[in-house]
């Protein structure tokens, strides 16, 4: 508990005291200035530090002492005195040592994810899903999990800047007032505001108010990961813009047209849950997924049949499919190959056989025509209203971002714009290259930037105003289904930032209106004054406003299209470039988050870099191998990228991820990978043909955490088809897995009465979305180590997601397997520890006592699952004060030289046990939820007491699919897996359908 009460106060006081973007001081510095400065130099940038650095004098002497065999006396000095600092006035409902949970919402890609955020004495430390919220349903995604780290990011901008100089909010406001005043006359002809998607009702209202004040001004929305094509598509199909809301739980057959609905759509968390709910336990109700994809995605990995295709050809497939499901389409003069046709026929047959119980989903990055066809098919198949409904767009203005940005930069070029205000967007970095936004931006005589970081745009702006993190301000937003969700602060702004609403109200010329009031006032307008407080409190408590789900709109899609509406692309020539948001830093806005940077991107397991992803065939053809640096020339620009060879990538296309090649916006963000926006054009932002690829002869080592992709015929992941399962439900536990019946040990069994903690991981449910990895990292203070260390396989994640490719190398099956400490009852790691630092609790936990560990690494060597992690250096950042504030006080921050590993979140077990003991009862099933379990959108992880026959975990362990990893070693793991069962179409070639021939 030490210092906690004080820490916040002290830190904030320091922050207040600070002027300018330099480091604010920390307690250590007050303690020892010199040492601290050298530390800053070496330790910074945190998370990716050069760990190979000297220890301070004290440790050095201690170590020398040790080497001089004097260390026995180390214990012979008095313990240093520490201060303990209470509050001055007790804070309501804060009990020191007890965390509190507050409901709030996190905006991802313009849509709100409901959260419950854990707070220790006023420090938000951990994010959990809000079970009541429609887009969360209790789960989260990796971005939400990592968002709490961004709050404490020491690189966040800390002061108002005027031409790079430190200034003040009031000076800025006066300046802004003048500028706007001069625009009044012209009704704001020269004023442009550029913001992200306006899904916050309050902000939208403020925007409208602003436009009312300046009728000739424009408020432009731009998100580099936009939904323009969807909108154009629905306009094409319905004549108006609507957002589709899917119900995967109602669909028996799902066809994805290059759509990654399990991960990257608004609502994906909910969709994943719905989709998996139909296949987590194999049986009659099991659904089937056909995925057509232009680059490997999680959705493809989860599919029963995958067809690789170039992105441009997806339209051809879509049309052909539509034709077979009763939509009239213009004829295509380049017919599909027989194999493709065979695949399509099977799909079409399945769809037609399940009218009203199937679903066709088009991908965000696909052309309007594909979306239109998808809508048409869903109508033709009678899915509209059952598996998919349509609502008026969540982004009320439903503007076309690219188009708008294009106009804006044109206006900039022509000098029409006199005052450009960018609100929480970074166009200089992430505008498509052909717009040359960077160049035109400078033409605006007044440039104002608002945001969390001093990013590329901020550096070129006259004014920069620091923004607030969503855990620092009041706001509101709408979820994918329209639900109005509440955003409330858990902590006062760390760096004296302004909330977007406060900034907006400054635009409206209102002096210092508090963000809270602005939001409250908006809702007062909606609800009226009568018992507003109760409504407001209820909304804040729930995290969203009950009954604000948008009503389904009664729209009907066209049943046919003419050649003007659907123009088939010319047969692709040369290579195709696929541009997608990065799986972990997305559009680049998370580039300074060390958790996400070090998170192994699914399928590639890359960290700290992006790459040009190509197929083994192409690699062979071009004589390329992993780490080779190539020059990519496409559309507007040229970049140099390192090659990553990924089985399953279509042979004629190269996939690149956005979000890298930053030049500003934080020490971690800078100078990593390459900037894929340089290849993006406003005409073809998601994929374009005619990519030219040239070998440079250079190489750049990519840090991927898994370099071996084959399972080597070891039955680590056991899987079968629904057919096999119905023939032999126990196919996963065939004889050779347990060669020896009975107990092969010469020793008697250790009796486990009372609680016996265990876990089941359902491989049918796991989609490999990485949410658990980040959740574990934030719950257990798992440090990041930086690229150099990852290259030497020293990453620290307590839970990792292994992925293996099997079958056809060109179009393999991709399987995920989360691996964490198995808490073996006969743990091989324990008997080999010479100091007894790792032992077994009588509840079956494999315990790691860090403070006893001397670091022989023997336990890790002897762990067949290799889940133990070693602190080769002082990985935990002990210097950056804000990062200390993020840490979970219930978990030890490990020092250098000790081993660590998954603890089954023992801190949660212990608090549950204590509460139960105080109430003289047993711990109930569900009282203990591990961090990975609670984050999982598909409930693939189930934890509990296996001695309690009624517990969920015990029931799952009884299933025939249940098997243990490497049980032949007689480790008796407490973690077991449910074998994977796929549901392929018997009429198609089993597994992943026909191998692609490429074009």
């Amino acid at each position: 508990m030490k210092e906690e009460a004080s820490l916040l106060a002290q830190v904030r006081e320091k922050l207040q005291g600070l002027k300018g973007p330099q480091f604010w001081k920390s307690l250590d510095e007050l303690a020892d200035n010199e040492e601290f400065r050298t530390y800053l130099k070496e330790e910074y940038p945190y998370g990716a530090a050069e760990f190979d650095k000297p220890v301070d004098r004290r440790d050095f002497l201690k170590l020398m002492g040790a080497s001089l065999l004097l260390s026995g006396l180390a214990g012979c000095k008095p313990q240093p005195l520490e201060k303990i600092v209470p509050y001055v006035k007790a804070v309501e409902d804060i009990v020191p040592g007890k965390p509190l949970f507050y409901a709030t919402s996190y905006l991802f890609n313009g849509s709100a994810i409901g959260l419950l955020v854990e707070s220790h004495l006023g420090r938000p430390t951990k994010v959990e899903g809000n079970p009541e919220h429609p887009e969360s349903l209790g789960a989260t995604n990796l971005f939400a999990q990592a968002s709490v780290l961004s709050l404490y990011d020491p690189d966040r901008s800390k002061a108002v800047l005027n031409a790079g100089r430190v200034s003040t909010w009031s000076r800025f406001v006066t300046q802004l007032a003048e500028d706007l005043e001069s625009q009044k006359a012209a009704q704001g002809t020269g004023v442009r505001v550029l913001s992200g998607p306006l899904t916050s009702p309050t902000l939208l209202a403020q925007a409208k108010e602003f436009l009312a004040l300046y009728p000739k001004a424009k408020w432009v929305e731009y998100d580099p990961v936009f939904r323009d094509y969807e909108r154009a598509g629905s306009e094409l199909a319905f004549g108006e813009v609507v957002d589709p809301v899917y119900s995967f739980d109602k669909a028996d057959i799902v066809v994805s047209l290059d759509a990654d609905f399990l991960f990257s759509l608004p609502g994906s968390i909910c969709y994943a849950k719905q989709f998996i709910s139909r296949r987590s336990l194999p049986g009659d109700g099991m659904n089937r997924l056909y995925a057509l994809e232009s680059t490997p995605t999680l959705t493809g990995a989860a599919a029963d049949h995958v067809m690789r295709s170039s992105a441009s050809d997806v339209l051809r497939f879509a049309a052909a499919l539509a034709g077979k499901t009763g939509v009239t389409i213009p004829s295509d003069n380049t017919p599909l190959t027989p194999k493709e046709t065979e695949w399509l026929n099977a799909v079409a047959k399945d769809l037609n056989a399940n009218r009203g119980k199937c679903l066709v989903v088009a991908g965000r990055d696909q052309t309007p025509a594909v979306h239109a066809l998808a809508h048409a098919m869903n109508k033709a198949l009678g899915n509209a209203g059952t598996t998919v409904k349509y609502i008026s767009p969540v982004e009320e203005r439903a503007s076309r971002h690219i188009q708008a940005l294009k106009e804006l930069s044109a206006e900039l070029a022509s000098g029409k714009v006199e005052l450009l205000i960018t609100l929480d967007v970074n166009p200089v970095y992430n505008a498509p290259a052909d717009l040359e936004f960077e160049k035109h931006y400078l033409k605006a005589p007044r440039r104002v930037h608002y945001g969390l970081f001093v990013d590329e745009t901020a550096l070129m702006a006259h004014w920069h105003v620091p923004g607030t993190h969503y855990l620092e301000h009041f706001s509101d937003a709408r979820a994918f289904d329209g639900t109005a969700s509440m955003v409330q602060p858990l902590i006062k702004p760390l760096y004296a930032g302004k909330s977007p609403h406060e900034f907006a109200s400054a635009l409206l010329g209102k002096k210092d209106e508090s963000g809270e009031d602005i939001v409250i006032n908006y809702w007062k307008k909606i609800w009226g004054e009568s018992d507003f407080t109760t409504k407001w409190r209820r909304a804040l408590h729930a995290g969203f406003v009950q009954g604000t789900v948008s009503a389904p709109k009664n729209v009907s899609a066209k049943s046919g299209f003419n050649p003007q509406e659907i123009a088939y692309p010319a047969a692709a020539q040369g290579l195709e470039l696929i541009i997608r948001p990065d799986p972990s830093v997305w559009d680049g806005s998370f580039a300074n988050n060390s958790w996400l940077q070090e998170l192994p991107k699914f399928l590639t397991t890359l960290t700290w870099d992006n790459a040009a992803i190509i197929s083994p065939k192409l690699a062979e053809k071009e004589g390329l191998k992993q780490d080779d640096v190539v020059e990519l020339k496409a559309g507007a620009g040229v970049v140099e990228a390192s090659i990553y060879v990924l089985p399953g990538q279509p042979d004629e296309s190269v996939t690149v991820h956005l979000g890298y090649g930053r030049t500003a916006g934080g020490e971690l963000a800078k100078d990593r990978g390459f900037n894929a926006y340089r290849l993006r054009t406003s005409k073809e932002p998601s994929f374009l043909s005619g990519l030219r690829l040239r070998k440079t002869g250079k190489t750049n080592r990519l840090a991927s955490t898994q370099n071996h992709h084959s399972m080597e015929n070891r039955d680590l992941i056991r899987k079968g088809t629904l057919e096999e399962y119905s023939k032999d439900p126990e196919f996963a536990v065939v004889e050779h897995h347990t060669p020896y019946k009975g107990d092969p040990s010469m020793y008697p069994q250790y009796p486990y009465e009372g609680y016996a903690w265990g876990m089941v991981i359902n491989l049918n449910a796991c989609i490999g979305c990485n949410a658990c990895v980040v959740a574990c990292q934030s719950e257990n203070n798992v440090p990041t180590v930086g690229k150099k260390e990852v290259l030497n396989s020293r990453e620290m994640h307590w839970i990792r997601i292994d992925r293996y490719f099997s079958g056809d190398l060109d179009n393999p099956e991709k399987d995920h397997q989360p691996v964490l400490c198995m808490h073996c009852e006969k743990a091989p790691c324990e008997p080999v520890c010479p100091v007894g630092a790792t032992t077994h609790s009588d509840e079956g936990l494999n315990e790691m006592t860090y403070n006893r560990c001397v670091g022989t690494k023997y336990c890790s060597n002897n762990c067949p699952y290799k889940v133990r992690r070693f602190n080769f250096f002082e990985y935990a950042d002990k210097n950056v004060e804000t990062l200390k504030m993020q840490r979970n006080p219930d978990v030890t921050v490990r020092a250098r030289g000790v081993m660590e590993k998954c603890t089954f979140c023992v801190q949660r077990i212990n608090s549950a046990r204590i509460e139960a003991k105080k109430a003289d009862r047993r711990i109930k099933d569900g009282d203990v939820v591990t961090a990975c379990q609670s984050a999982c959108p598909t409930q693939a992880i189930v934890f509990g007491d296996i001695n309690d026959p009624e517990s969920a975990v015990a029931k799952l362990k009884k299933l025939p699919l249940n098997y243990g990893l490497l049980t032949e070693l007689n480790t008796v793991p407490r973690v077991s897996y449910l074998a994977k069962v796929k549901n392929p179409n018997p009429e198609l070639v089993p597994n992943t359908g026909v191998p692609s021939h490429g074009h």
């Binding site: 100091v835 023997y858 133990r868 070693f870 020092a895």
Partner: protein
């Protein structure tokens, strides 16, 4: 008839293990003078300088390790042990020849041990000193090494005696202590000899103190011989146990490539193999530089070569069994591991090892080769390298490719790994050079005994 024959052969060996025409006095003269002379041989000075330099490298590397933490090494997860443990096992192994010569050969009444046992024992001590560094250095928190010893701590917890590493703690410290005792006990009468020989008053006092006032009393000799014999009797099982336990470090684990019942005996054989190679490496130059051809005769080298050949074959058998069991077991992981060594990307190391340890010694079948110092020396060098490679193969290749392919990763030593490895040579030779200069490197009284026996042929 038979007895006669035995007597005859006995005689032969006696002659051939002590050349020249030596008296009690001349033996003493010859050996003590090396210690008591004032002048330093240039060769010695040069060697000592080199050794000191390498020793400095060790100090720097260790300093770096303590200030920058263990991450400066190349180890990682999965390969948690690298040069540290390789060197540990290698050095400990080398030590074994010393104890073997002084203890086992004594029990077997092999008189040819006499002239080489003293410096072989010294070699043991210094090799163990080098080896003993690593159990401490390889810790993530070396300053906490004393937690490995059972002492009443304020935590109220104790070491975990099921761990082979804990066994090591006892084995190695016992081994070091007993070897030191053995060595010192053997030294006492010779120190007395030096005491009586030197003219320098200071040295007289020094040796006088060190020899505990030894006066060659019959009563003393009586107990002395018993004790010495007992020590030999204890040292023999000890030396076998020590490397068996080192072998158990690996055998008790479940790592494919470690989990092999054959390890203890095969490690012991390997140790003796490596040890004799090192003794030859040291003996050949020594007898040249200090003109000890009379004491360290070709017969000695021939015998050692034979032992080397024999143990080499044992080790070879070990390799064969390892491979055979791997495939015979039908165990997926074991087979994969073996394939990795035979034809996988660790093959170069493995075959280099086979060449060094199995093929190279075969030349020793020929008497000529055994009689040729150059060849003998080269073979010994091969074996030194080969035995190091063997530990590299066992430790690194097994860890780098174990059960779950997702966590496979290779190992590359850093400059600091090398620094510490080379540094230990510095430590070893620094001590060794001091030893040959300031301590009689051949047991005087035992040589005198030998002279006596030679005289009376019994």
């Amino acid at each position: 008839m038979a007895t006669k024959h035995i007597k005859k052969s006995q005689k032969e060996t006696d002659e051939s293990i002590l050349g020249g025409d030596h008296t009690y006095g001349s033996v003493n003269e010859k050996i003590s003078s090396i210690v008591l002379t004032k002048e330093f041989k240039p060769v010695w000075l040069f060697g000592f300088a080199v050794a000191l330099t390498l020793f400095l490298v060790l100090q720097i590397s260790v300093g770096r390790l303590f200030t920058h933490y263990i991450g400066i090494w190349g180890i990682n997860v999965p390969v948690g042990w690298g040069f540290d443990i390789i060197n540990f096992v290698w050095w400990i192994g080398i030590g074994h020849a010393g104890t073997l010569i002084s203890a086992i050969l004594l029990l077997f009444k092999q008189q040819w041990r006499t002239s080489i046992n003293r410096f072989a024992e010294a070699m043991t001590l210094f090799a163990v000193a080098c080896a003993a560094l690593f159990p401490i250095l390889h810790l993530g928190r070396p300053e906490k090494f004393y937690w490995l010893f059972p002492y009443p701590s304020t935590f109220g917890v104790w070491p975990q005696f099921r761990s082979p590493l804990e066994w090591d703690v006892f084995a190695v410290s016992t081994y070091a202590t007993v070897s030191a005792l053995f060595w010192y006990v053997g030294l006492v009468p010779d120190l007395a000899a030096l005491r009586d020989r030197t003219k320098h008053q200071g040295l007289k006092v020094l040796y006088g103190v060190l020899c505990l006032g030894w006066r060659g009393s019959a009563r003393h000799w009586f107990r002395y011989e018993t004790a010495y014999l007992l020590l030999a009797g204890l040292g023999t099982p000890l030396v076998l146990s020590v490397h068996s336990i080192i072998g158990l470090d690996f055998a008790t684990s479940i790592v494919p490539g470690w989990h092999a019942t054959i390890f203890p005996p095969y490690f012991v054989a390997g140790a003796i193999f490596a040890g004799f190679a090192m003794v030859i490496t040291l003996a050949v130059p020594l007898r040249k530089i200090y003109h000890l051809e009379d004491f360290i005769t070709m017969k000695h080298l021939d015998n050692m070569a034979k032992v080397m050949l024999a143990t080499g074959m044992l080790v070879g058998y070990g390799y064969a069994m390892e491979a055979f069991m791997a495939f015979y077991s039908g165990n997926n992981y074991e087979i994969a591991m073996m394939k990795n060594r035979l034809i996988g990307h660790f093959a170069p190391f493995y075959w280099a090892l086979i060449v060094c340890n199995l093929l190279a010694p075969q030349i020793l079948w020929s008497k000529k080769a055994r009689g040729n110092l150059v060849i003998l020396y080269i073979v010994a060098m091969f074996v030194n390298v080969g035995m190091w490679l063997e530990r590299y193969i066992i430790i690194v290749t097994s860890l780098a490719r174990d059960f779950i392919p997702s966590s496979w990763h290779d190992y590359a030593p850093t400059i600091w790994d090398w620094g510490i490895f080379l540094g230990t040579f510095g430590l070893f030779f620094t001590l060794f050079f001091l030893f040959i200069r300031f301590v009689p490197m051949i047991s005087v009284f035992e040589m005198q005994e030998l002279v006596h026996k030679k005289k009376h042929g019994h």
